[in-house]
C-alpha cells in the first residue's frame, strides 16, 4: 500500500517532457518533488504563475508570490505572472496539458466530486470546475477509501459534482485505474496489494483483464 508520497511518485511517471502541468492542493502538490529531472516541465498555479519553483528559503518568503494553496513559493528562470482571466484562458483554452487534482469521489463514468459535503463542508470549488471542464488529461490523486473505510470509486457519485465524465485516470494508495466507457480498468497494483484487496475497496465497476502488474516505483 502506498502513502501520499507514494501516490505522488507514481503520478509523476505520467508527466511527460514539455508538459505544462496544473497541480491541485494536497497530494498533487507533492508530484512536483518526483518528476524526472531529465525532462522539461512547467508548473502552472491558477492564481497567476507559470514556472513555479520550490518553497523559498527561510527569510526570503514574499507575500506577493504564492501558489493556489496560498503557500509562499519561488519562481524559476522563464517564469511569468498573469491575471486570473489569463490564467483560466490557459486552462479553459486547453493550453495546460495535464491536470492533477484530489477528489472525494470518482464515478466509473469519469464524474468527479470534490468541493462540497452538503450541510457539513462548503469551502467552494476554487478553480476545480474550470480545470475539469476543459483539461484534456485529468488524473485524480486520492486514497482509495474514505476515513470510514468506504470506497471513493463509485458507480455514481453521491456528493455534488465538480465535473461530468472528465477523469481519465485515478491513482490511489492501492492501484492505478483508467476510466473507460465500461468502468474502472485496473492497470497496476500498489506494492503488496492483491487484486482481492482492490476489489473489496472498489464499489464501482472494476474491469480486470489478464495479469495486473505491481507498480514500478
Amino acid at each position: 500500500m502506498l502513502d501520499k508520497n507514494g501516490i505522488a511518485k507514481r503520478i509523476a511517471q505520467e508527466v511527460e517532457d514539455g508538459n505544462y502541468v496544473n497541480l491541485g492542493i494536497g497530494i498533487p502538490t507533492l508530484v512536483a518533488n518526483y518528476v524526472r529531472t531529465d525532462i522539461e516541465v512547467e508548473f502552472q498555479s491558477e492564481n497567476g504563475v507559470l514556472g513555479m519553483g520550490p518553497f523559498p528559503f527561510d527569510g526570503e518568503e514574499d507575500a506577493d508570490i504564492i501558489n493556489a494553496g496560498k503557500q509562499t513559493i519561488t519562481t524559476l528562470p522563464g517564469s511569468s505572472f498573469f491575471d486570473s482571466a489569463m490564467s483560466f484562458s490557459m486552462i479553459r483554452g486547453q493550453h495546460v496539458d495535464l491536470t492533477i487534482l484530489g477528489a472525494m469521489e470518482v464515478a466509473e463514468n469519469g464524474d468527479i466530486a470534490n468541493w462540497k459535503i452538503p450541510g457539513k463542508m462548503v469551502k467552494g470549488m476554487g478553480g476545480a470546475m474550470d480545470l475539469v471542464a476543459s483539461a484534456d488529461n485529468i488524473i485524480v490523486a486520492m486514497m482509495h477509501t474514505n476515513k470510514r473505510g468506504e470506497s471513493k470509486l463509485l458507480s455514481t457519485c453521491s456528493l455534488p459534482l465538480t465535473g461530468v465524465g472528465c477523469v481519465k485516470k485515478v491513482v490511489t494508495n492501492l492501484a492505478v485505474l483508467d476510466v473507460t466507457k465500461n468502468g474502472f480498468k485496473l492497470i497496476e497494483r500498489a506494492p503488496g496489494v492483491s487484486i482481492e484487496d482492490i476489489k473489496n475497496a472498489t464499489q464501482g465497476t472494476l474491469i480486470i483483464e489478464g495479469d495486473i502488474p505491481e507498480m514500478n516505483l
Binding site: D64, K70, D83, S84, G126, P160, L161, T162, G163
Partner: protein, 235 residues
C-alpha cells in the same frame, strides 16, 4: 493627463452606501485592497454584496467586514479558512453564491470589456449550472454566465501614477486587473504612487482609462496566509 489622484482613502470612498455591490481584488490575502477594506469597516455601511474570490480570514481582509456584520452576500469561488464566515453561512445570516474561479474572473472581464454574458464549460452538469441557459458548441456543452454589475471595484496595485496607470507585482495581480473598469467606479490603491512620467508605457498592466480614483495606501501589512519555507542545507 487626466488626473485620477485623490488625497485620502476617505475621498476615494466617497459615494459608498448601504446595500451596494462591491468587487474586491485579491487571492487569499495576496493583493487585497487593505486600505479600502479598513475604511469600509470604519464606514459601518451594511447590506454589502461582495464579489471577491475569497472571504479573507477571521481577523484580516474581508473577515473584518464579516466580523462587523456588514456583508449581506458573498460571491466567491473559495471560502475556507474563515470560521466566522462558516458560522454566518450555516446560520443563514449570510447569503453565499459559490462559482468557479475562472467564471468569476471572466464575469469581471466581461463587465470590463462590454460583453453582457459569456459561455463557459465550467460547471456544466453540476449544481452551478442549475437554472442557467446551456448550449452546445461543436459537440461540447457550455453554461451562459452573465457579466457582473457592481457599484465600486476596489483594487490594489504595486505601482501607479496620477493618470491611473497600474503595475502589479507577482501573484498579487490575480483578479485586480480584471476588476478595473468592471464597476461603475474603480478605486485603485497602490503601494507606491510615483510621479507622472516615471512608469514605462511599455510596462503598464492596466491603462488609467479604467480607473476613476487612485490613492497612495497608507499601511500595507501584506499578511502571509501559509508561510512555507525550506531550510538551507549547510555545505
Amino acid at each position: 493627463m487626466i488626473n485620477k489622484k485623490v488625497n485620502s482613502v476617505q475621498d476615494a470612498l466617497i459615494g459608498i452606501k448601504d446595500n451596494m455591490t462591491f468587487m474586491l481584488g485579491g487571492f487569499g490575502l495576496s493583493g487585497i485592497p487593505e486600505n479600502a477594506i479598513a475604511e469600509l469597516v470604519k464606514s459601518n455601511i451594511t447590506g454589502i454584496t461582495c464579489i471577491s474570490n475569497n472571504a479573507g480570514v477571521d481577523d484580516f481582509g474581508l473577515g473584518l467586514l464579516l466580523q462587523n456584520h456588514q456583508i449581506k452576500k458573498m460571491v466567491s469561488s473559495y471560502v475556507g479558512e474563515n470560521d466566522e464566515f462558516e458560522r454566518q453561512m450555516l446560520s443563514g445570516e449570510l447569503d453565499v453564491e459559490l462559482i468557479p474561479q475562472g467564471t468569476l474572473a471572466e464575469r469581471c472581464r466581461a463587465a470590463q470589456a462590454g460583453f453582457p454574458a459569456i459561455f463557459t464549460p465550467a460547471g456544466f452538469g453540476t449544481e452551478v449550472a442549475q437554472g442557467k441557459e446551456t448550449r452546445e458548441f461543436d459537440g461540447k456543452m457550455y453554461v451562459l454566465e452573465h457579466a457582473f454589475k457592481a457599484d465600486f471595484a476596489f483594487v490594489k496595485a504595486w505601482k501607479g501614477d496620477e493618470a491611473g496607470n497600474l503595475i502589479f507585482k507577482g501573484t498579487a495581480r490575480n483578479f485586480n486587473p480584471n476588476m478595473c473598469g468592471a464597476a461603475r467606479i474603480t478605486v485603485a490603491e497602490v503601494e507606491d504612487l510615483v510621479p507622472l512620467g516615471t512608469l514605462d508605457p511599455n510596462q503598464i498592466h492596466i491603462p488609467g482609462i479604467f480607473i476613476q480614483r487612485i490613492f497612495q495606501g497608507e499601511i500595507y501589512e501584506k499578511r502571509i496566509e501559509q508561510r512555507t519555507v525550506r531550510q538551507k542545507v549547510e555545505s
